[in-house]
Symmetry: C2
Subunit: 456 residues, 2 copies
């Protein structure tokens, strides 16, 4: 047994206990009532990084939640790895669907159940433990820098300014992020494509007050019915988004590239069974992996209006609302898509209502290179630890910071994530496998060693 593995084995309980402590902090960034908890999350990281042996750690204030910056510099001759992660989490509601409270982590069936266990506290914390091991075993083979933010789940709106203002300090050779998944525990993979995001909120207003649906129904436009009509019209019967210009910048993949996407093992029956559906649905002419990996899409993430309590109320409401997001692929631009959506949505509103569109955060789609030294190092690390070379995949999710680092700092990213699709991130009962957590730490240590070796 090698020294790394042996250190992890003997420190397993400590590694778990520390993560559990981190997970007990409800650092929900979107809801201001958790503001002090988000701050506590940053404080926790400051302490953990110090203990893991960094030279310097700072809690950097922003206009929103703080960014934790840390570094361990060995020598200017060594390559520098910039680790990015986020310590904020998604809201945990609906709370009633959790089998155990989201911020009281528990272990069941070798899995850690808690909001953020996988996304991204668990995956972030692996990097701090990897540094601890590297320090423990002697001198780390690379310089390490950490940039850990508290606003990823709300669009990283203050990260851009911070990275711009600290470009010199953040200078590195590669960005390393663990916030993605592998195919399954027998099939390691590295994500090379991520979708971008445009997220809007729409408000449809009919009459100036709630009306009695008996007195006015049939003669006055009902904003809920109108909103349903408008949303329904956004996707045609071939599963294509109808916003003019939506597909103009979409890079169509070659037959070869599509064949590569098809190489990832995929069992439709298992997929359907795992999420409890009897039929899939999506854009005509594309497979499920293509629909989530290489095609843009539009989803309503929330809708509300009128009476939603128990029983019946015969109201023709004044307003109806929806939160709508679009996942984007290269070379769609999130700001351009948000503009196209807004123009189109306002243009299709009947004269009987008024429409207001506001913008939440967005992010550009990204594809990471597969011919770089860092990708090779990640691939080697997986192969050594998991016994199999990883498959390159395109994921449906978004990590907008990938293009931010590329554009501002000119640095590529390696997405070395260890989650599973079934971890239920953003959902009730989010969990992270202990196997993935420990195996991930080991793989990250190996990455640094491999990257240093290849850089010589």
């Amino acid at each position: 047994m090698n020294e790394v593995k042996s250190y992890i084995d003997s420190n397993q309980q400590k590694f778990l206990d520390e993560l559990m402590e981190f997970l007990r902090i409800p650092s929900v960034s979107t809801d201001s009532k958790f503001k002090s908890d988000v701050l506590r999350g940053a404080g926790f990281l400051e302490g953990a990084l110090k203990k893991a042996g960094v030279d310097l750690v700072e809690i950097c204030q922003t206009a929103g939640h703080p960014i934790v910056y840390a570094e361990k510099i060995i020598s200017s001759d060594l390559p520098t790895v910039l680790v990015y992660g986020h310590y904020d989490v998604q809201p945990a509601d609906p709370y009633e669907l959790w089998d155990s409270p989201p911020f009281e982590p528990v272990i069941r069936n070798e899995r850690i159940y808690a909001r953020g266990s996988c996304d991204d506290k668990g995956q972030l914390y692996m990097h701090i433990k990897a540094l601890e091991i590297l320090n423990q075993q002697g001198v780390p083979p690379c310089n390490l820098k950490f940039i850990l933010e508290g606003e990823e789940e709300i669009g990283s709106s203050n990260l851009n300014l911070f990275v711009n203002e600290n470009a010199t300090r953040l200078k590195s050779d590669i960005v390393l992020i663990s916030d993605t998944t592998i195919i399954d525990n027998d099939t390691p993979s590295i994500t090379i494509g991520l979708r971008g995001l445009s997220y809007v909120e729409v408000e449809v207003t009919g009459p100036n007050r709630d009306l009695h649906s008996g007195v006015y129904g049939g003669a006055v436009a009902n904003p809920i019915n109108v909103l349903c009509d408008m949303i329904s019209s956004l996707i045609d019967n071939k599963g294509r988004v109808t916003i003019p210009g939506f597909y103009h910048q979409v890079k169509e993949l070659s037959t070869d590239e599509r064949a590569k996407v098809a190489e990832a093992p995929f069992d439709l029956g298992k997929y359907q069974q795992e999420i409890g559906i009897t039929d899939i649905q999506g854009e005509e002419g594309f497979t499920t992996l293509e629909r989530t990996g290489i095609r843009p899409t539009l989803d309503v993430n929330g809708i509300w209006g009128g009476y939603t309590g128990k029983g019946a109320k015969t109201v023709l409401p004044s307003k109806a609302y929806a939160k709508i997001s679009m996942r984007l692929v290269p070379d769609q631009d999130d700001e351009e898509i948000t503009r196209l959506f807004t123009e189109h949505f306002i243009s299709i509103a009947p004269k009987s209502v008024t429409v207001n569109v506001t913008t939440h955060h967005g992010g550009k789609p990204a594809v990471t290179p597969t011919d770089s030294m860092a990708f090779q190092a990640a691939s080697n690390a997986f192969e050594k630890v998991w016994g199999k070379a990883p498959i390159a995949t395109r994921d449906g999710g978004s990590i907008p910071v990938v293009s931010l680092f590329s554009e501002i700092l000119g640095i590529d990213t390696v997405l070395m994530g260890f989650g599973l699709d079934s971890d239920a991130i953003h959902s009730p009962n989010e969990s992270y496998g202990i196997f993935n957590y420990l195996k991930g730490i080991e793989t990250i240590v190996l990455f640094h060693q491999q990257y240093a070796a290849l850089s010589k």
Copy 2:
């Protein structure tokens, strides 16, 4: 000045104080947390009826909220009027849109602001004050019976059984109800048609848990998008409901009958301005008064699903819900329409989701006769008190008990309401004009006198 008017003038403050006390009771029938308040509402009526001089009053238990029954019998030679009203109210939410708390009645600009001020506590209480006056002036000219229920806003589900079991006791010559509107304070009117109601709640289920919309979006049917598609398809681009069979039983009106509907004064500009809309919308080929008076319709009364809090959450939810109601006209049957809706809604669901439809209360549409002695008495009363003969109108709302009394007891109804469309019933800032309240009491007293005179 006649004696009736003079009694009302000198008791105005008392009449208002008593109504305010009644309005302070939050008798919301649909929400079980107000159960004891609904009971207090019944208790208040018991006391008020006793004070007004009934011979007998009983709080009759049902499977739900109680029914208050009372009578004042003078002689079997006199005609008997059965007064119906309801002391339960609609929920007051959204509370934040009220200018003053819904259950702390206040008077502003000669109007009483409170939930239930018009619908139906204010209109019901006029009948108790009319009895007080009749008793005060000597012997009432008719026998009076009162049936006051606490479940009108939730479909009167226990009224049917009560009326069946008490048919002998309830035997009367006419039902008198004040739960409708007049055209305006210069244009009295009597409602002769009311729409029926079918009210359903639908649940669309996609995946067995909330999913990350980045990971699954585009490949898995989103129940909110599906629900919007399904709702959108329920009304075609001519404003017609697409449920097969929906219009089969609709009685088409003759040209003469439609000309009568058009006689009611209607100012489209004022109508639009009052509710703050710039364009009306409805079934092609019909006027606004026809759309609400003689045509059936379908409205979504509430919709919800996914993340509805502040900020953004990229969730592809497991479920989406809507409350949908259909207003019905003669001879549509509410149970038949509910069945047609359910069958159709399930049939249009894509295989990627499952659909569940549950039924809330319904009610049959009704048309009341205009050639009866009671209608004549009501018309005379209006003419004497308001100085103008009332216009016969068809209203959009529903009072399902009208057909219940007709079917079980074989008794016709006169709908002598005194509200205004602008009273904002079922909405925030519901109010009732003091003018309407006091004028209504006077008109009701006159009705009894006129009805007794015509019956001789």
